[in-house]
Symmetry: C2
Subunit: 355 residues, 2 copies
DNA sequence: ATGAAAGCGCTAACAG
DNA sequence: CTGTTAGCGCTTTCAT
C-alpha cells in the first residue's frame, strides 16, 4: 500500500527508455526554447525577457524540476553545503549521544540555515582521520567544521598544510596552523576551582581526560587556582575518564573505596557532574554539605539536577555562529584568527556559599 | 598566521593556470597510464593487474586525491548521502534546540554511519514545504528522512504522489500514502493517564498542541483512559501549547489564575513536564502530593528532574534504525510498511504509588 | 590488461 | 534577446 518508489516505467512501449528524471532539455522542449534559455531563466540571468523567464520558471516549478547539483558543480557553481565532521568511535558512540555535542551541532545548524547553507554531518572513524575532509575532497561540501580536536593536533596541522578549508571547535594550542573557536577553558577551570576553594573545599577531585586538549586546559585552571592559594593538588585526585556517565559513577566508587579523601568534585562536563551527584548520593554523601560539585557546559540537564548543578557555562550560540562565520570568511579569502569565547560561572545549589 | 586557504597560485609563470584541484588526469600522467586505468584502479575493477591497481591507489592516496562526486554522479554512480529534512520555523527555532529532536537526529546519524552513509541535515521554511526534498531533487541525496510530520499530512501525501523516496517520523494516519515510523502515541497517552488515574488523579490537565498528529494521538489516549473509567474530561483542562518550556510555565500560571481545579498534568513532552514541575513548585504546589506530573519521551532530563519525572519512553534507538532501514529498503525497490514502535511507562517520583 | 572516445546534465562563451 | 557549441571530470563501452 504505502508507496515511496517512483511508479514502474511504462514498460509496454517499444523504445521504452528508463523513466529518467526530468531535465533541462525536457523543460526546453515543453517551453519551445533552447536549453540555454532555460538555464538562464532558472538562474535569473538579466538579459532575458521577463516574460520568458517567468513562463519558464513557472513551468519548471509546476513540474517540480530542480537542476542536477552534480552537473552544476561540474560547471563551476558553488554548492551551499558545509560539512560538520568529527572523529567517530564506533564502540562508545559517545558523540551522537552526548547532549553537549548535539546542542553544539544544533547551534551550528541554526547558524548555517541563517546563512543559507545546509549541513552535511560526517562521522569518521579515527583510524582514517584524513577522511575527515572527505566531503570537501569530493566536492560535496565547500568546507569543513571539525568538531573534536581531541588529541589530533598533529594530524589537524597536517590538514592545514594541505590547504584544505576548515575551522576547528577546540582549544587554542601553541603551534597550531589552523583556526580554532573554543571556550576559555583555562578561565573556566579557574573559576570553578576558585569558587570551590572560596566555599571551603580543600581536596578537589578532577574528573575528565586531560589528554584531550580542552580538558587539559580545564585541568590547568584547576591547578592554577590551587597554586594561587599556595596549595599543591594531590595527583591522586586527578581521575582521568571518558565523557560517559558510567565512568563518573565508577570513579566516585573508586575514590571512596580507595579511601582517598575529597571534599569536592570539578567535572569536565555536566554529564559527568550529574552522574557524580547521584553516585555520591548513593554513597550517603550529601551535596553540597559533604562534597561540593561543579560541572562544565551548562546544558539544560544542569539546572534540573538535584541539587541544581553549579557549572561553567559555554556560549554555544556564539560558538555556532563563530564557527560558521569564520569558515565562510576563510572561503571568502579573508585571513581568520582563532577565537576564544568567554566562560562564566553559574552558581546553583551543588556548591556552598563562599564564606 | 593561521592559514586555512590554499596557497596562492604560482603566479610567476607565464602560462599560470589556476591551481585547479588535482584530478584523475594528473594521477594518470604521473602513473604513466591512461585515465581509464586510473578510474578502474580506484574503483577496484577486477580485470586490472593487481600491481597496477596497487601502484595507482598508493599514488592517489599519497596525493590525497579523491574523485569529484559531482562528476561521478553525473556518470551514474550512487551517492552515499541521505537527507534528514524538517520544517524549520525561523522565529522559534525550536527544532535545533529541542533535546528530543536532537537525540533523534543523533540516533539516525548512528544508524546511517553504521550503514556507511552520511547525513545531510536540511531545515526548510514551512512556506516552501515542497523544498523538503530539495536535496533529493538536486541529486545531492538519494532519499529523505522527514522529521516533523506536524500538520503537513496533506502536503506529505503530495510528495508521495510525486514518487519521491522518503520516510517520515510521525503518526500513522488513516489515508496516508507514505511510510511512517513512530511511537505508539495512543498507547503512551493511555498508559500515562491510566497510571495517574490509578494513583488517584481525577482532574488531569493535558499540555500540548493537539493539532499536531502525534500529539493528537497522545491526547486521544488521555481521553480514552478517562472514558474507560466513565469519566468525561473537562475541556478546560486541555491546554494547547508549543513545545517550549516557557509555554508550559505560562499555562500553569494561567490554570491557577483562572481557578481551574487540577490534580495532575500529562505533558506531551518531557521539556514541557519539567517546566511544569518548576512552575508548580513556585506556586507552592507539591509534586506529587498536590499535583502529579507525567511527561513524554524519557530524555535524560527526565531522570534528573526533581522530583524525577514519571514519563512515557520512546525508543529512539529503534526509531533511528527503522527510519534508515526502511528508507534504504524502499530505495532497494522493496515495498515498505509503516512501523509503530512500542512506548513504555517509566515510573519515577512525580506520580504517587497507585493505591 | 589497457587505451580511446563518447557522453552524463549543465553553464557560459560566442554568435547571431 | 536567444540559440549553438564546447567542455566541466568522470565512467564505461568498445577496441586493441
Amino acid at each position: 500500500m504505502t508507496r515511496t518508489k517512483p511508479p514502474a516505467p511504462p514498460a509496454g512501449e517499444p523504445g521504452a527508455r528508463k523513466p529518467s528524471r526530468l531535465q533541462m532539455a525536457d523543460i526546453a522542449r515543453l517551453a519551445n526554447v533552447s536549453i540555454s534559455t532555460v538555464s538562464r531563466a532558472l538562474s535569473n540571468h538579466p538579459r532575458l525577457s521577463e516574460q520568458t523567464r517567468e513562463r519558464i520558471n513557472e513551468l519548471a516549478r509546476s513540474l517540480n524540476y530542480s537542476a542536477d547539483a552534480g552537473a552544476q558543480m561540474l560547471r563551476g557553481k558553488r554548492l551551499n553545503t558545509v560539512a560538520v565532521a568529527f572523529p567517530y568511535h564506533p564502540q562508545q558512540r559517545q558523540h551522537f549521544r552526548d547532549p553537549f555535542f548535539l546542542a553544539l551541532i544544533g547551534r551550528i545548524g541554526d547558524a548555517l540555515i541563517d546563512r543559507g547553507y545546509s549541513m552535511l554531518v560526517v562521522g569518521v572513524e579515527e583510524a582514517q582521520f584524513e577522511r575527515i575532509t572527505a566531503a570537501y575532497d569530493t566536492r560535496q561540501a565547500i568546507g569543513t567544521i571539525l568538531l573534536g580536536q581531541e588529541n589530533y593536533h598533529r594530524r589537524i596541522n597536517e590538514l592545514a598544510v594541505r590547504g584544505v578549508p576548515f575551522v576547528v571547535w577546540g582549544a587554542r594550542l601553541r603551534d597550531q596552523l589552523y583556526c580554532t573557536v573554543g571556550s576559555d577553558n583555562l578561565l573556566g577551570g579557574r573559576l570553578a576551582t576558585e569558587h570551590l576553594l572560596a566555599a571551603g573545599a580543600r581536596r578537589i577531585a578532577f574528573f575528565g581526560d586531560p589528554t584531550l586538549s580542552e580538558i587539559a586546559q580545564r585541568h590547568e585552571g584547576w591547578i592554577a587556582a590551587q597554586q594561587a592559594r599556595g596549595l599543591t593538588p594531590d595527583p591522586r585526585l586527578v581521575r582521568p575518564m571518558p565523557f560517559e556517565a558510567e565512568a563518573a559513577r565508577r570513579e566516585v566508587d573508586r575514590l571512596i573505596e580507595d579511601g582517598v579523601d575529597f571534599d569536592a568534585v570539578f567535572a569536565a562536563s555536566d554529564v559527568l557532574a550529574v552522574a557524580a551527584l547521584s553516585a555520591l548520593k548513593s554513597h550517603g554523601r550529601r551535596v553540597p554539605e559533604d562534597v561540593q560539585v561543579v560541572g562544565f557546559d551548562d546544558i539544560p540537564l544542569a539546572a534540573q539536577a538535584s541539587p541544581a548543578l553549579t557549572t561553567v557555562r559555554q556560549d554555544l550560540e556564539a560558538a555556532g555562529r563563530a564557527l560558521v562565520d569564520l569558515l565562510l570568511a576563510a572561503l571568502d579569502g579573508q585571513a581568520i584568527e582563532p577565537l576564544i569565547l568567554p566562560t562564566t560561572l553559574v552558581v546553583r545549589d551543588s556548591t556552598r556559599t563562599p564564606a
